[in-house]
Amino acid sequence: MLRRVVLQTFRQGLAQSFFKRNAASLSESAVTQHPIETSEEASEKSGSKQKNGDESGNTVVVAPPEFRFMYPEFLPDPTMERRNKLKEKLERMDMLQRRSIIEIPEFYTGSIMAVTVADSNSPNKFARFVGICIQRGGSGLQAWFILRNVVDRQGVEILYEMYCPLIQKIEVLRLERRLDESLLYLRDALPEYSTFPFEMEAERRLNNSVVPINPIKVKLRPRPWLERWERQNLQGVEDLNLPQRYYDRAKEVAKPWEKYDLMLQYRKTIPAEEQEKIYAEVHSQLQQQDLKRKIKRRRGPSSEQ
């Protein structure tokens, strides 16, 4: 509770200055808070360590800015009619509780993942599926992602709910992003672009600070397609080789004014101040869980020896 109160008093000064700081100082401020400390201690200590340029000199707990890309499901649904502060808060608590039981790693669309689900019909009572994450969506406990793979020349897609109690394990085999946020066009691409072996092993990352972007351009099959891809301004697709009339029509139905509609953007997103509050609320617990797992992993092999 203290954290929230402190944050509110400090918010006005912070809102303007915080995002102008460079990323280096941001990560620094995140490091100063030790993850095991309770929230009160953390805010006191960070206040003494943190050099903040604001004259008010209050203390504040700040989550690193990349958290909104790592954990987008902690942000509520931006549809205003459906907002409910209490429900959102309760859902965040439930999500953290679920995350303390199973590890939900950082992933993005384009990452290759393996998910193990409890399955009463399979002989060993679980089913493991490997595939590329082609889309990610939903907010709160309803967050989901879609994995796609080609099995026996048949495209297979499974939508997993991230906080579903049937999920036993989520692994990221290759952490990377693609040029697009949604890779649904892989459904119309040649099968080799979405074929991944089930016995694939997790790759080790050399540089943990950056998530690599895979600049691969996918070749689509000739029409007919599931969607009109030429209208979607896709970056990760090779030249579509369509007759000119398709591009003309795409131009006719395009909505170039939407990028100037400031309120449309506002209604689609959650304001920065609110995002800050939400991530300040969850980030210490997320870091705690992370640290516990690291310690467990380090102890694991030594105890076996």
């Binding site: 907010s139 004014w257 939407e258 309120m263 304001p271 920065a272």
Partner: protein
């Protein structure tokens, strides 16, 4: 996909935002709606106080607020903010006004940057009524009288006195209650 758009960070607006935009009758569709609002926002930044019909004023207010809050958050070196200023302000000298006059003026504000006041209704007149939309801190005389000090109105003085007496009486009863307990101990 029910997930918040992460591509841009926006400041929270300090006005009440409606969940759905107002749609204006315009033969050009949504592009025409934006063109109408653009004229209003430009006029607002130029004249700082304008009188117009209520629906248009309310809608234009939110766009003006967004423009100013973006300018404050990102400054004039930000590409997207500059594009927006270029689109929303028809007269290009107003872009200078936005970044050099309005941003310093509103930097320390804790409230909204614009004010919407209901205008007089003329009979027979426009059905939705008029409104006066103004930028705060403008050089014109105030539209509404400054709030009065009501503390010395007779009934407020009497009520304040009654409250004080009640508080004193309650404190006395509390003291009386706690004394016997103390003596027992």
């Amino acid at each position: 996909m029910n997930q918040a758009d992460l591509s841009k960070l926006v400041s929270a607006l300090r006005i009440a935002v409606k969940p759905k935009p107002r749609l204006f009758a315009s033969p050009e569709g949504p592009a025409g709606r934006l063109r109408k609002l653009k004229a209003t926002v430009t006029a607002l930044v130029k004249y700082e106080r304008i009188e117009l019909n209520y629906p248009r004023a309310e809608e234009a207010q939110s766009y003006a607020e967004r423009l100013i809050s973006d300018a404050i958050r990102n400054g004039d070196c930000h590409k997207h903010t500059m594009e927006m200023a270029d689109y929303w302000l028809d007269e290009k000298q107003l872009i200078h006004k936005l970044f050099k006059v309005l941003v310093p003026r509103y930097k320390e504000y804790n409230s909204s940057y614009t004010k919407l006041v209901l205008g007089p209704k003329t009979y027979p007149g426009y059905y939705a009524g008029t409104a006066i939309l103004e930028l705060k801190g403008n050089p014109f005389p105030a539209l509404q009288p400054a709030t009065q000090n009501y503390h010395y109105w007779l009934h407020n003085v009497l009520l304040g006195e009654a409250k004080r007496e009640f508080r004193v009486a309650k404190a006395e009863t509390n003291a009386n209650l706690s004394e016997p307990v103390a003596s027992k101990n």
